[in-house]
């Protein structure tokens, strides 16, 4: 009863936080739309008149970078694999300098010189080729859409957790379920009304404020969202360290842990019994004790042929003292009748099963890979992936076109460096503590962030604080989605519509921009009505595809005067194609959507290498770029363009 009251308080706090948050977002969109009056629509709506100061540029870059993955996927991985995640994310120590500095200054200069608003437009004008712009537009829209889809689902899922206990929400959810159940395709007895309700609310709000306020609204909301994330992480860190008894204690406890097993409990019941996800069961002798946790909501029926009904569980085969203490506390609060059962192990971790120390060392435990979670080769790949894949994302490039001067850039890099250090290092500590405080969440590790927020604030006697903490991951998702939507809107308006209608009026361009934002939002919602299981792989595929297609062609376009239009097209297509082929091979080899690690290397490395090689080789066989364009963008040295 006490627990129920606490959860309700946290839920109401979350609803209040969410309403305040949404109101502020719309207020910012309104202010941004007023600021647009009297300015060039295209430049202001899509790039904020290229006038971003340090705080705006730094926060919008950091907030766009920290997507749902940073606040949902990354904590889940820390919880699942332990301290090795420090090595997985290690490339971030140079991300601010390399990802922001590598191309920012030059990109901003070339974009200004060419008067470009989008990445495809800049490439087209720099190389004097409409084909380059068209290919860039197609690749950008294709890969970015995968990225967008994943964020929509993440946003809806976070809202579901955020508002799950609120009375109004539960009533609305029930109504939606009753309406949807008779419908084909999305209907049926298992329809998830909460998900559809949240997906709809999330989509409407993010599409509305993005379309209304444009780039400036997105940047301003990013600033607020970035601040919310930072405050949330700092509070979580303090609460986690206090409640776990210090970091040294947490690391010592984690070092003693062994990975869980997967199995089933065969239960014999006399009548149908519902078991909730997360329910605990215990098996003990004088010498040992094992704990079992139910993986998903299950209804156990009396078995007809004997042997009992099966319930999927994970098993903690050698729980530590801290785990026993935490689990017993949870078991004391659960109301599950004593049911006789027999445990049957089905699978073990392929690396780390039964071994202590795997959560505080590399390569980390793995349920699927015999070499562990992060073999050395993969660690090397990720050290390259984070900074360089970051440089190759068009959504970041759009921001790099918008800062007002180089002083802003230099100071922003320093700011983002501090920001990332205050986000990613604390997250590793918080969710290492999470393993000790909340054992058994391998059943649904994506939920560890909201569960930790609820747990820590309730224990601290401040359940209302959960609302603020849960706003952090929601802000992370929203800040990425708004940037992606605007990227679609700018690309399609500028590089498709305006190419065909160069004399279109500002009023017409406005309508097209709003329409594109709304259409992309609707398409994403429709695609996510039946969300696929391999969503995390879609994110990696989308971001990897963008980086593979754009990183080398853009870097070469900015720094190599000899690059030709044909070699740029060849570089983009070969990079995107290579990623596609590697995922296709992965699908046939593993039977599921995912990249194939050829020679132990991440697909991104192969794709970028192929893109670079093809770009350089194709220069030899293609028509040179117009010398006037080369001189325009590279200047002259000793009578020759640039240093080429």
């Amino acid at each position: 009863m006490i627990l129920a009251t606490t959860e309700a308080t946290a839920g109401n706090a979350a609803l209040v936080s969410f309403c305040i948050y949404t109101a502020v977002v719309f207020a910012l969109a309104w202010l941004a739309s007023r600021k647009r009056a009297g300015k060039s629509f295209m430049n202001e709506y899509f790039l904020g008149s290229r006038n971003l100061g340090m705080w705006a540029f730094a926060f919008t870059y950091a907030a766009t970078s920290a997507s749902g993955g940073s606040f949902m996927g990354f904590p889940a991985k820390i919880y699942t694999y332990g301290w090795v995640m420090a090595l997985w994310i290690a490339g971030y120590i140079v991300v601010p300098l390399v990802a922001m500095g590598l191309i920012s200054k030059r990109l901003n200069q070339v974009a200004r010189k060419s008067g470009s608003i989008t990445v495809p437009e800049m490439m087209r004008k720099r190389l004097g080729s409409p084909t380059v712009g068209q290919v860039a537009t197609v690749l950008l829209v294709f890969f970015q859409f995968f990225f967008l889809l994943a964020q929509f689902k993440a946003g809806a899922k976070i809202m579901t957790t955020l508002l799950g206990d609120v009375g109004v929400f539960i009533a609305a959810k029930d109504t939606i379920e009753s309406v949807l159940q008779p419908l084909p395709w999305i209907g049926g007895s298992g329809v998830d009304g909460a998900y559809y309700l949240c997906l709809g609310v999330f989509a409407v709000s993010v599409v509305a404020y993005t379309a209304w306020g444009g780039f400036r609204a997105v940047v301003w909301t990013d600033m607020m969202q970035g601040a919310v994330m930072l405050v949330g992480v700092v509070i979580l860190l303090g609460l986690a360290l206090t409640q776990v008894g210090g970091l040294a204690n947490a690391t010592r406890e984690v070092a003693k842990m062994v990975p869980p097993e997967e199995g089933v409990l065969r239960m014999e019941v006399n009548a149908k019994t519902k078991l909730s996800q997360g329910a605990w069961f215990k098996l003990e002798t004088d010498e040992w004790v094992k704990y079992f946790r139910v993986k998903k909501d299950t209804e156990v029926s009396p078995a007809k042929g004997g042997g009992g009904d099966e319930v999927d569980v994970i098993c903690l085969p050698q729980p530590t003292d801290a785990e026993v203490k935490a689990i017993e506390k949870q078991m004391g609060q659960q109301s599950v009748a004593a049911i006789p059962f027999v445990y049957q192990k089905e699978s073990d971790y392929k690396y780390g099963a039964g071994k202590q120390g795997v959560y505080v060392s590399a390569p980390g435990p793995s349920s699927t890979e015999a070499q562990g979670f992060l073999p050395v080769m993969m660690a090397m790949c990720f050290f390259a992936f984070w900074p360089f894949a970051g440089s190759g994302q068009p959504s970041y490039m759009a921001r790099q076109m918008a800062f007002k001067d180089t002083v802003t850039l230099r100071r922003s890099i320093v700011f983002v460096m501090i920001y990332f250090s205050l986000i990613y290092f604390p997250l590793i500590i918080i969710f290492t503590c999470g393993r000790v405080l909340l054992p058994g969440w391998e059943i649904d590790s994506d939920r560890i962030m909201p569960e930790m927020a609820m747990f820590l604030t309730s224990n601290a006697g401040a359940p209302w604080l959960a609302g603020l903490l849960l706003a952090a991951p929601f802000a992370a998702v929203m800040s990425s989605v708004d940037s992606f939507l605007l990227l679609f809107s700018s690309t399609i308006t500028r590089d498709v519509y305006q190419q065909k209608h160069p004399d279109a009026s500002e009023a017409k361009l406005k309508k097209v921009s709003y329409a594109v934002t709304i259409i992309m939002g609707v398409l994403a919602v429709v695609a996510m009505l039946k969300p696929p299981q391999f969503l995390q792989d879609l994110i990696v595929f989308g971001s990897g595809g963008l980086a593979a297609s754009f990183l080398m062609p853009v870097v070469l376009m900015l720094y190599w005067p000899r690059l030709t239009p044909m070699s740029t097209v060849a570089g983009m297509v070969s990079g995107g194609f290579t990623i596609g082929v590697i995922y296709l091979v992965g699908f046939f080899v593993h039977g599921k959507f995912g990249g194939f690690p050829l020679l132990g290397l991440h697909p991104f490395i192969w794709a970028v290498a192929v893109s670079a090689l093809v770009s350089v080789m194709a220069v030899r066989f293609s028509k040179p770029t117009d010398p006037e364009l080369v001189e325009k963008y590279f200047g002259k040295v000793d009578g020759r363009p640039g240093i080429g």
Binding site: L87, L247, K256, A362, T406, S421
Partner: protein, 125 residues
């Protein structure tokens, strides 16, 4: 075009305060001068080389140290710690993080040069 702090342009006073050097020695660009495309391009290229070299140094440090120290302690329940952090993470990640931050501050505030920004041409789709 930009604000003035105590008689010095903001960017210059920021540099002097940050690095304790004269702004002239740091080859500050005059924001009012016309952009020199060739010189600006060569400066950007030089900075790109610095950044790639930085990445190589930290790659060698983090991956080199962690691939030896981090993988060697696998399956040991007794963990060596510094400030509650596994020793290999402390020296293979936290110290490099600190070093990278110091280097980033130095590079951004003392090494990177400012460039005059291009005037925007008339909007052409």
């Amino acid at each position: 075009m930009r604000g003035v702090c105590g008689g010095l342009p903001c960017a210059q006073s920021f540099f002097v305060a940050s690095c304790g050097r004269s702004a002239n020695r740091l080859r500050m660009a005059d924001f009012n001068q016309r952009a020199d495309t060739g010189a600006s391009f060569r400066q950007c290229l030089l900075e790109l080389k610095w950044m790639v070299a930085t990445w190589v140094v930290f790659f060698a440090w983090v991956i080199g140290y962690s691939s030896v120290a981090g993988y060697a302690v696998a399956e040991q329940a007794e963990v060596q710690m510094v400030w509650g952090i596994p020793r290999w993470v402390f020296f293979g990640w936290l110290i490099p993080l600190g070093a990278a931050n110091v280097f980033t501050v130095w590079f951004c505030l003392c090494k990177m040069q400012d460039e005059p920004m291009e005037e925007l041409p008339e909007d052409m789709p």
